[in-house]
Symmetry: C2
Subunit: 547 residues, 2 copies
């Protein structure tokens, strides 16, 4: 939490980072004396991304920090004065200078919760003008965070629970902050590690990385290796490590029927030099030239020399070509060395694969023999190639979700929604959520054991009934009177929640291709309200709601 707060909100999303029309609308409301009218907006999306069956909600922490710090600087206001029409009443700028979120309340789904299309994620209520001004910034903070978090969750599913996942997309992200956002939210979605050092510092995400090809190709001969000695792990006197490695290279080549001459001298020098610098963290990239003719031989020679000095090499990275095939070949070499030289740990060294991995290629990889322990993903993860945006909207939910336009002489602006889940009646050992139910906030919550009528959204189905065995409110009050009203989740905490939330889902909703739809339903009261809006029978629905 301390780490999060260091990254102040003014950096991330100052309130001027919004569409100009929010100001022109705010002015028109203000001019008409409507700016203090109570308003309620819901933030939600209409379709799960990636043709999937679920999404993971993320970005809440950023939204809350943004709201807490929402305040226009004098410079902001002067800029607005310069771009808004010249006949704008000067008092409006005074109004803007004094504006903050002290009259705004937010309830939201917890960060990391599995969510579905048309379920309100964030409900923003407060004076019309300020609530309108928040729109673009909140959408900006939730859209990409939730999209990339969902993408990461899908990679996690594709990878299976055992394989470790490393995010390494910084260089392909939408600039520095896009890269940081990606690191944070892919971790919450289920990645284990990031290459992004700043994300490690700010968010407490474990970081990883050893070397690039440029390091390997920057060496050309063994003469460049300096120092050439290494002190054994349990010793005091430096050993001539270069000679030791040369000896091991001969033995490895003999074992594998290779010629020492085929080894690239520069590659051997690079690996040697790195091992001397970091004898306990030896995980080089081995495909700078040719894995089987040079890379794996260099690695084994250096790695076995390290073992002889009681160090434990970590493994290798493959960054090109057919990762599955190469990983099997490399594992085979590790096993031979392990057996022949009696170094048991050598057969279980890590093999890291990092060659433009996509969700699809990860799925394919799982279908083939492979020995890859860690997968690094960059471009396809952070840019969300197959769908690079999530279409969250910020609207009056009743009207927007049902595609009906209406006047506001009814109550829907003031309606809030609770989203409830019914656990399966006959499941063990876990109960899986079966439905998200959207109600009016003034309705009593569904009760365990009490039959409940509901209308599934998106289907013109008649009323259905269910007797809940478990009911959970998905909404939390997170912001009121200008203050954040719950402890901010750290990235590790949100990650735990996301993974628990994902694990609770039925597998058929989590299928990456053609998942079964999860039910999102509305209560009878909302159904009646909507029917009345559609009929234009405002009096009837008003009567209904005021009951």
């Amino acid at each position: 939490q301390i780490l999060l707060n260091k990254r102040s909100v003014r950096e991330r999303a100052p309130p001027l980072l919004t569409d100009l029309y929010q100001f022109t609308m705010a002015y028109a409301y203000w001019r008409a004396g409507r700016h203090q009218e109570p308003a309620v907006f819901e933030l939600f999306f209409r379709d799960n991304p990636f043709s999937g069956g679920f999404s993971v909600f993320a970005g809440l922490t950023d939204c809350l920090l943004f709201l807490r710090n929402f305040h226009f600087t004098d410079e902001d206001v002067e800029y607005l004065r310069s771009v808004l029409p010249s006949n704008t009443d000067p008092d409006f700028f005074t109004f803007l200078k004094g504006l903050d979120c002290s009259a705004v309340s937010i309830s939201a789904v917890a960060e990391g919760t599995v969510v579905f299309a048309r379920v309100p994620l964030l409900e923003v209520s407060g004076p019309l003008a300020v609530v309108q001004l928040l729109e673009t910034s909140l959408l900006c903070l939730v859209n990409y965070a939730s999209l990339v978090c969902t993408n990461a969750a899908r990679f996690r599913i594709a990878a299976g629970p055992r394989r470790r996942l490393l995010e390494m997309g910084l260089r392909r992200a939408q600039g520095p902050d896009g890269g940081l956002t990606a690191s944070r939210y892919t971790y919450i979605g289920g990645f284990d590690l990031t290459s992004n050092a700043l994300a490690g510092r700010l968010f407490g995400i474990p970081v990883a990385g050893t070397m690039a090809h440029s390091y390997v190709t920057s060496f050309s001969s063994l003469e460049e290796v300096w120092p050439q000695t290494l002190v054994p792990s349990e010793g005091d006197d430096p050993i001539d490590f270069l000679s030791l490695v040369k000896g091991w290279l001969g033995r490895v080549c003999q074992l594998l029927g290779a010629r020492p001459q085929q080894v690239r001298e520069g590659e051997l020098a690079a690996l040697l030099s790195y091992a001397i610098a970091y004898p306990n963290n030896f995980l080089p990239v081995i495909d700078s030239y040719n894995v089987s003719c040079s890379g794996v031989l260099c690695f084994c020679a250096v790695g076995l020399a390290l073992c002889e000095l009681q160090y434990q090499p970590l493994g290798v990275r493959l960054d090109s070509g057919d990762l599955c095939k190469q990983s099997v070949e490399v594992r085979c070499v590790f096993r031979e060395c392990s057996k022949h030289f009696s170094v048991p740990k050598f057969e279980s060294l890590l093999i890291v694969g990092t060659n433009s991995v996509s969700e699809q290629s990860l799925v394919e990889l799982n279908k083939r023999d492979n020995e890859i322990d860690v997968v690094g993903v960059g471009t396809h993860l952070v840019t969300c190639t197959s769908q690079p945006s999530l279409g969250c909207v910020y609207k009056l939910w009743v009207l927007a979700v049902l595609n009906c336009a209406s006047t506001f002489s009814l109550y829907p602006r003031l309606a809030a929604f609770m989203v409830l889940r019914r656990a399966a009646e006959r499941t063990s050992p876990f109960s899986h959520p079966q439905m998200d139910l959207i109600c009016l906030s003034e309705e009593p919550a569904p009760k365990v054991g009490v039959p409940l009528n509901y209308y599934p959204l998106g289907l013109n189905k008649a009323v259905q009934s269910v007797t809940p065995s478990q009911v959970t409110s998905l909404r939390l009050d997170v912001f009121s009177h200008g203050e954040i009203t719950l402890p901010l989740s750290t990235a590790p905490e949100s990650r735990v929640h996301a993974q628990t939330s994902l694990q609770a889902m039925y597998p058929h909703h989590k299928k990456l291709q053609e998942p079964e739809n999860y039910t999102v339903a509305i209560s009878e009261r909302i159904h009646l309200l909507v029917s009345n809006i559609r009929k234009g029978n405002s009096k009837g629905s008003h009567f209904l709601l005021s009951n």
Copy 2:
């Protein structure tokens, strides 16, 4: 320039925003005493994005600000100490604390220049360790900036020179900074306006925007309109604007054969209210309910009432449905009103279209009858849907571009490249660039009128010859001794350069689909160097280069 500097670099890309392996490699270099070795890296990409024939280079200003402020804080260094292996020599952290870019030199193509695959965009030279540490940050700052700038240039081409383009992608960008980056670089690429207020303030980009559907639907009756009066442009006494508009609504409905009852009262109220707030900036969205049954009638009634009071309405925005068809219908209504009510300017009101426009839909739009003057683009522009990343790399160019690995006993690490363009020999009134030529920095520049041999890249063609009629160096020295050595371009300046650079290109290279390849060639000396590397004849090429 002042505006740019306000946005400090520490916000945008602190030096810790890089991949962890840059630090492990830097340590290994440092440990081996190689960190001060001179090194030269080139930043370039291998393929134009979007299957196109060109790209626009962008991100240079951000790179320069990053380099000037490159310095690790004590907090950064302590974090690195906590994540690097425990046996890292403590002196390395002292080294990091004192590190800056005072020994780094950069030459680069000017921001906004049209560039091509494999042409070095940025050359970074300096001590090996620091130049290595810069890799990820520079890639991050150039990749998305150039990608989105190129995307914008393609939208500009698709839109034609007349139509104005408005960027409005903030809510779909990769977070706040992604949104700012998009606004800046789409403007440079050829957009005219942004909706992003902060981008307007920071970069001096013209901003635009009036109202969203939520503004329109927040009104339900004319009773909500307050005040209901408006002072005429050239007068002192307030006029009952509500009655005036009602009168105009009757006349407009009569002219168009519509019934006043079909108009949504809320929509009329919203437009009325907005016009009273901003009588000189009246450009409402008119598709909240139904354009022809209500929206355009409301607009004409309010707009004509404004005209009667000597105000000039600006136009309308269409945000759904078939933009072409609706724009033609709306223009037709404007013309009828203009003629019937003798209001000449009414026929040339702006029509703004903003319905999930893509490059393809913009191309299609141009093929159909339409009356759209301004096109707003969001998601497809900022996320670069059809290719959401540019694969810039940071490598030793000679080796990387030719896909050959080699030891470095040659000179290529020290080679720099000049990129030159030969103008067409027989063109008028403009001379179009015909070729980018990559040379060694030590070579004499090609001369006008002197025959020149070159080898086109990507083709196994024999040597070709040309006599340049014009030669321009594309490379500028932009950074040395820790200082930026040229005035930073503002966004408007870079935009002018980009548009000039684009206009100079032959149209067949700018085709959006199946463009003709622009020639990128290497000099004879580079060709020889490469041949020698391929033959492994290092002595020969060393001799060659030292001549």
